[in-house]
């Protein structure tokens, strides 16, 4: 995705002032955090054991990625399917468009796929005369509003019921304007009816894949709505689009990860639907796609192998990290200006989109580490963010003046007498400005810092001076 993560500071500030977004973000605790905690508390095996299994499976898969992908390809081909390798977003778009054009497809239904967001597929299809229709309810809603997903599991998380009603009334022009749409069941029923027509009319279906299984050439999708299955089963052609890192060796590995995924994402033991797709329909099958294509996207992933950021490729896209992140919880997903928000994005987006565009995302962290404690595959997220910060500094990103400023400070800080003199002067000035008040509410030229903070008035004497004064009374 072309990011504007360079606007992150402004976008974050705007998000903090956005009252409707702030209202939506209050749902993170009830909607996600508590449900996840309850699910793992109810599970007979301790979370620490489970996530060590998950980490081991993902780590082992990454260490044999090439072998597994080739095995997967052979299995899919043996079943009569096709595998395509896309180096980057442009190649991914081109391959998918070509498959659709070759099959004469005009309308395409889509299951939820963050990878297709990453490669910005929908505008490209539209520009090539192919109409993509999102079928996941959250994705459908944001497609109507021309917005991007704000969360990898709940794309419409930032919206309210009234936003959905407004969008449906505007888009579903054929329906009676006087109809009632004032509650969620009515909205869901309307989406069900409208999208059912699209499912039946579609020439092709595109889904993502939560996991790929090398041993059997299987792609797995996990949904609660059933939209992914209607997307891929009704039309002649099914295209799976996913990242190369999603692969595991065996079905048994996927089974362990599925238990971690559903609990971590929505607090469910299992979703309503888990579907295992292993090629096109067999000759005598009652239904199923005649054409089965899997597009494997690299787009920077292989470049992360062997790097200090490799572990981010273990991600199973549960969203737990962003659900628990105080920064994401304060600003939501859009402010990040990149495909993947939250701690996942801070660790992954620099590898996919480059540091020049995304340098601020690893900085949007106090390293509290909550993300790491809930990650079901034990990705060392803060260590990876620190790696990106080091990279940015040593490469002079965003600008060498930033590095120069830090070096200047370091020069002073290494000279204790100079440092003490400078901070002593500053402390005396701040005390003068504060007067009788215990806190400063503003300072000239620093109003930005003060919009959300106060500064405590410095004490009359510094620790250093007090220590020098009283040192005589302390025996070592």
């Amino acid at each position: 995705m072309t990011t504007d993560a360079r606007n992150f500071p402004q976008a974050a500030r705007a998000a903090l002032r956005n009252e409707r977004l702030q209202g939506a973000l209050t749902h993170l605790k009830e909607g996600f955090q508590l449900k996840r905690a309850a699910a793992f508390a109810a599970y007979p095996i301790p979370f620490e054991n489970l996530r060590e299994q998950g980490r081991a499976i993902r780590d082992s898969a990454l260490s044999q990625l090439d072998t597994l992908l080739l095995q997967f390809e052979a299995q899919v081909q043996a079943a009569g399917g096709h595998v395509h390798w896309a180096r980057d977003a442009a190649e991914g778009r081109e391959i998918i468009t070509r498959i659709l054009k070759d099959s004469g497809a005009k309308t395409v239904t889509k299951g939820k796929s963050m990878v297709t967001e990453e490669i910005e597929l929908n505008p490209h299809l539209a520009a090539n005369g192919i109409t993509p229709i999102e079928t996941d309810l959250g994705e459908y809603i944001i497609q109507l509003r021309n917005e991007r997903p704000s969360h990898i599991v709940a794309p419409a998380f930032h919206l309210r019921r009234s936003d959905v009603e407004e969008s449906f009334r505007k888009a579903h022009e054929a329906l009676p304007p006087a109809r009632l749409l004032d509650d969620r069941p009515a909205l869901v029923a309307e989406a069900r009816a409208v999208l059912r027509r699209h499912f039946e009319a579609a020439d092709a279906g595109i889904t993502g894949a939560n996991f790929l299984v090398a041993e059997t050439g299987t792609a797995i999708i996990v949904t609660n709505e059933g939209n992914g299955d209607l997307t891929r089963l009704l039309p002649r052609t099914h295209i799976v689009v996913t990242g190369i890192e999603k692969i595991v060796p065996q079905l048994a590995d996927a089974s362990i990860l599925l238990r971690l995924l559903t609990r971590s994402a929505t607090g469910q033991e299992i979703t309503s639907y888990v579907s295992f797709m292993s090629g096109p329909k067999r000759a005598n099958d009652a239904d199923g796609p005649q054409n089965f294509h899997v597009v494997l996207l690299d787009n920077g992933r292989s470049g992360l192998l062997g790097s200090p950021a490799q572990e981010v490729l273990q991600c199973i896209r549960c969203g737990a990290c962003m659900n628990h992140c105080p920064v994401y919880g304060a600003i939501g997903g859009h402010a990040y200006g990149a495909t993947y928000p939250g701690p996942l994005g801070a660790a992954l987006d620099p590898g996919l989109d480059g540091l020049a565009k995304t340098y601020d995302l690893p900085n949007a962290s106090s390293f509290c580490g909550r993300c790491e404690t809930v990650c079901p595959v034990k990705i060392p997220l803060t260590r990876i963010m620190r790696h990106w910060r080091n990279q940015a500094f040593s490469r002079g990103i965003p600008s060498s003046s930033f590095g120069t400023g830090l070096k200047l400070w370091a020069w002073v800080a290494r000279r204790p007498r100079l440092y003490q003199m400078g901070t002593g002067v500053a402390a005396r000035m701040l005390r003068l400005l504060a007067g009788a008040q215990p806190r400063l509410r503003s300072l000239p030229m620093l109003s930005g810092w003060f919009t959300a903070r106060d500064l405590a008035k410095p004490a009359a004497a510094s620790f250093q001076s007090e220590w020098r004064k009283r040192r005589g009374n302390c025996k070592p």
Partner: protein
């Protein structure tokens, strides 16, 4: 397929069928136990009339379910062909998974995979002897077959979404209700 690695798996004390029923109900499926598949027609009619619903049911063409004693439920109109979004539909599950109250459907000549996503209300016949403890047991059976079906669906309860204000609503695209008849 290679042998299954030695992962830690959940265990429980109840027998597979009892555990299945508990988990299935928790997933908002409606579960009934019948003595034999022959009792299914009457059971389905009773459920529909009890809920004040039209006694009409879609059956998959060429399915062995067509041979059940439908004459014992004369009020029930049985139709062939794919159900639409407000219809009732009946099918047989290949297996059940006790761990999560999950139904397992394999694609085949007599079983359309899309069947389970089309209707408004799904009725499913599941033999008690087909209920296995975990998905790993299904994998073992598939290993013996030597290959995966083109599509394998795990279905647990009705379709649902929480995409509007993080509140669950049923019947997003798949069935709004699932009734499981456990026979045997």
């Amino acid at each position: 397929m290679k042998p299954v690695p030695d992962y830690i798996l959940p265990a429980w004390t109840a027998d597979a069928a009892a555990h299945f029923i508990g988990k299935s109900k928790a997933s908002v499926a409606d579960v009934h136990e019948i003595a034999a598949p022959e009792e299914a027609p009457e059971a389905i009619l009773a459920i529909l009339t009890g809920a004040g619903l039209a006694p009409r049911l879609h059956l998959p063409a060429h399915s062995p379910l067509n041979a059940l004693s439908w004459q014992r439920a004369p009020g029930l109109a049985v139709v062939q062909g794919l159900p639409s979004g407000d219809d009732n539909a009946f099918s047989g599950a290949d297996y059940g998974i006790a761990e999560t109250g999950t139904l397992v459907f394999l694609s085949g000549p007599q079983s359309a995979s899309s069947w389970h996503f089309r209707p408004g209300r799904e009725f499913v016949l599941l033999r008690r002897s087909s209920i296995l403890p975990r998905f790993e047991d299904i994998i073992a059976l598939l290993s013996a077959e030597g290959r995966m079906p083109a599509t394998l669906n795990l279905v647990t309860g009705p379709s649902r979404t929480a995409d509007i204000e993080q509140t669950i609503e049923l019947g997003a695209h798949g069935p709004r209700a699932v009734h499981i008849l456990i026979a045997g």
